[in-house]
Chain length 322, copies 2
């Protein structure tokens, strides 16, 4: 393969399935891409950047990196209840290593194919290793699962298991042996798209857990003006994580991040149906708490085991405290 | 200002006009943004990355950088004939310099306001300085100005003037004095959105000149299967450029890039009307050549002054020859 930018673009274009011309009449190769939504639908879009040395280790297997760059964006669509349509990839590379690029692209293409979505455009350029993905999806107009619709009395529930990815990351950072199951959670997160769609019409509010449960549930609580109470004994945590991180598994689950599970609130009357739909999809859905109205003078936020949890807006890449 | 990521996000959110809730019911602050298209319209989107040291000098005025990151993306929408709706910004910064960030954001916000578009989402993270913008627009379904619709007999025309930006860049790279008018072309390109829309229904094909006229017109020629003939004597070149770069002004105009002018092809019967619409917008539109069918065995491409121009796919950031 010629190690040129246009060789790379051709290779990328060839690796991905051609978009359905009825939905994406123009993809890679023009000034811009065209996408057609179903009538009565609105566009949903999200952007996330992964930088080498910040979001991933430079020696991560490239196929896993390709998967994860797309999966974390799809997770945002899942948290809206949306159907994914396509995505763009802005890829900066210090140089073109043909084998590494081929593995990256293959990993991303496999994930795109698994979700039936097309690469519709992007940009390749020289620069420090970085991937910015923008995913596009659609939703019946007005049916998005937003952050600001939780109500007092809602059940708080979370999908899957929490903390496994953080457990793997902490082991890697400490150069300790890493359990393969935890590493899988860190490198191959699966966006909960089917669950997000299944909870449309049942859940009041939803968020994906990328910065840690306390931070992300805090977004719902403050946007909705409720107090979200969480019982730490109810957190879904794997036996593997408890065994691997006996001292900090709870912190991994509450504040670790990189889970890409869905945290939702829903009225108690919908809880049984939500459980049934999650079970039909083979996804655990665990009730971990409830929402209540703030008392007079009380700020909205998260309470953990009967006491206010510190306000966390999430991971600050610049190390400031907030 | 607290130099934290969330302080930066708040500052960005405050700097941009709030989106029209009827068109963008959900912007910054949820997992994903929502956009509503007009009935009978399709989505148009484009992504471009600007990396420090590759696409801009690290000491470029930040307000100009903010403008240009958005303008070069809007130029892609202009080349489709689209109406811009909004954009996302993925911003990587090595550290947060409050004054520098404020100027960057102000520059971008002024350009967004000038075009009536909203920032609907994005990502901020730590990393080498880089901006990836994804612009979103809409078009009446089926009316896009594509690259692959040029026909034999079409007039080839280009807006504005070519080569000024390249003239400034070459002077900067050689540490020579730079004419302010040329520097303006490099740092403050104006996307030709109104012209692109005005040429819908008149032009057969369009491209924005970002990689140089020969490269970008070559995209049209090869995608459309025509030979595009260009007469170098007709190129619109400023007197300033000719005076500043007596030895290479023609190369700046033909192969320099960074022009963000529109190159279009249109049937001769539409030429007078196209000229009138461009004049009404105050934008020069210059006829520089014609399209013809390839002879038997001849490849589509660009001819310059009666001879085939070398095939240029554009600027290869990795230095490979293609």
């Amino acid at each position: 393969m010629a190690a040129t930018e246009f060789g790379l673009i051709d290779r990328i274009a060839a690796a991905f399935a051609r978009p359905d011309p009825a939905r994406a009449p123009l993809g890679i190769g023009d000034d811009a891409a065209l996408l057609r939504l179903k009538p009565g639908h609105e566009l949903v879009l999200s952007t996330d950047t992964l930088n080498a040395g910040v979001h991933f280790f430079a020696d991560v297997p490239p196929a896993d990196l390709g998967h994860k760059a797309l999966a974390v964006n799809l997770s945002d669509l899942a948290a809206m209840g949306a159907e994914p349509l396509g995505f763009t990839l802005a890829l900066s590379l210090p140089a073109i290593d043909a084998d590494w690029c081929a593995a990256l692209i293959a990993g991303m293409a496999a994930t795109a194919a698994a979700h039936g979505i097309a690469l519709v455009g992007g940009d390749t350029t020289r620069g420090p290793l970085s991937l910015t993905v923008t995913v596009l999806g659609e939703l019946p107009t007005g049916q998005a699962l937003r952050r600001d619709r939780a109500r007092p009395g809602d059940v708080v529930a979370v999908s899957g298991r929490l903390g496994d990815a953080a457990g793997a990351l902490r082991a890697l950072l400490a150069s300790e042996p890493t359990d393969p199951a935890l590493l899988q959670a860190l490198q191959r997160p699966e966006p909960r798209l089917a669950l997000g769609r299944a909870l449309r019409g049942l859940a009041h509010a939803a968020v994906d857990v990328s910065d840690g449960l306390l931070a992300d549930l805090g977004h719902i609580a403050r946007a909705s003006g409720v107090v979200a109470r969480v019982d730490s004994m109810r957190l879904p945590v794997s036996a593997v994580l408890k065994a691997a991180r006996p001292a900090d598994w709870a912190d991994c689950a509450l504040a670790g991040g990189d889970d890409y599970e869905l945290c939702v609130t829903l009225p108690p009357a919908h809880w049984t149906e939500a459980q049934a739909r999650a079970e039909a999809l083979g996804v655990p859905l665990t009730r971990i708490g409830e929402c209540r109205a703030p008392s007079a003078g009380e700020s909205p936020g998260v309470w953990l085991d009967g006491a206010p949890a510190p306000v966390r807006r999430g991971w600050d890449h610049f190390g400031g405290s907030e």
